[in-house]
Symmetry: C2
Subunit: 126 residues, 2 copies
């Protein structure tokens, strides 16, 4: 099955396999996608650091793959995963989508912090 990459990348949604919560969106190149399938750990390509990024490699909060789905156009990936750790977000939340947009265009935090990011991330966010 061939991925339809754009500039070498495909967006990958990660959904909690147990709670169905959408945890984050990252990008994979072909190698990251292949590694995700082969290793069973969600692996992205970091656009800012320009290298492969095993999610949780420094925090320990890895994402264990349960199922990988592909969309109709083969240009988006959905990974159902179990979070081996307290949270996915480098700001200390379980999901990166911890804010909702309010009627006036502002934002409101709708989740509670699950961990202290300063104690988990020594340097780069991962």
């Amino acid at each position: 099955m061939e991925l339809k990459l754009q500039d070498g990348l495909i967006p990958a949604i990660v959904q909690d396999a147990k709670t169905s919560e959408v945890l984050m969106l990252g990008y994979m190149n072909q190698e990251a996608y292949d590694l995700t399938l082969r290793t069973g750990y969600v692996t992205f390509y970091s656009r800012s650091r320009r290298k492969l990024w095993v999610k949780g490699e420094s925090s320990g909060h890895r994402l264990v793959v349960k199922q990988v789905r592909i969309d109709c156009d083969q240009d988006a990936v959905l990974v159902l995963a179990e979070l081996a750790g307290a949270g996915c977000c480098h700001l200390g939340y379980r999901s990166c989508f911890f804010r909702s947009v309010t009627a006036d265009g502002g934002v409101q935090v709708i989740a509670q912090r699950d961990f202290d990011p300063d104690q988990v991330y020594s340097g780069e966010k991962r």
Copy 2:
């Protein structure tokens, strides 16, 4: 709240507000995002047709916005929506992610068709 657009676009995940199923991923430009908030109907920017695209405008299967969330980096949107119709996918499925990737790298259909796309779409897929 300012969106971090890439080439003028931001990826937008649509999740079923009732079932939590991830239905599709599309792209919004600033105008599509503003219209989504203002009209209450999920509106994308079609990269192939290069114009605004109210999801379901031809099929009638609109997506009624229940909540819009933004991620930590403000470069991805998650819309919780109710599907006013049988399905989101132009191939006749409720979700565009109706196939899972198998161990040998192939794909397997994991959902049942919910409607006949030939009876819904006269021309362009929407």
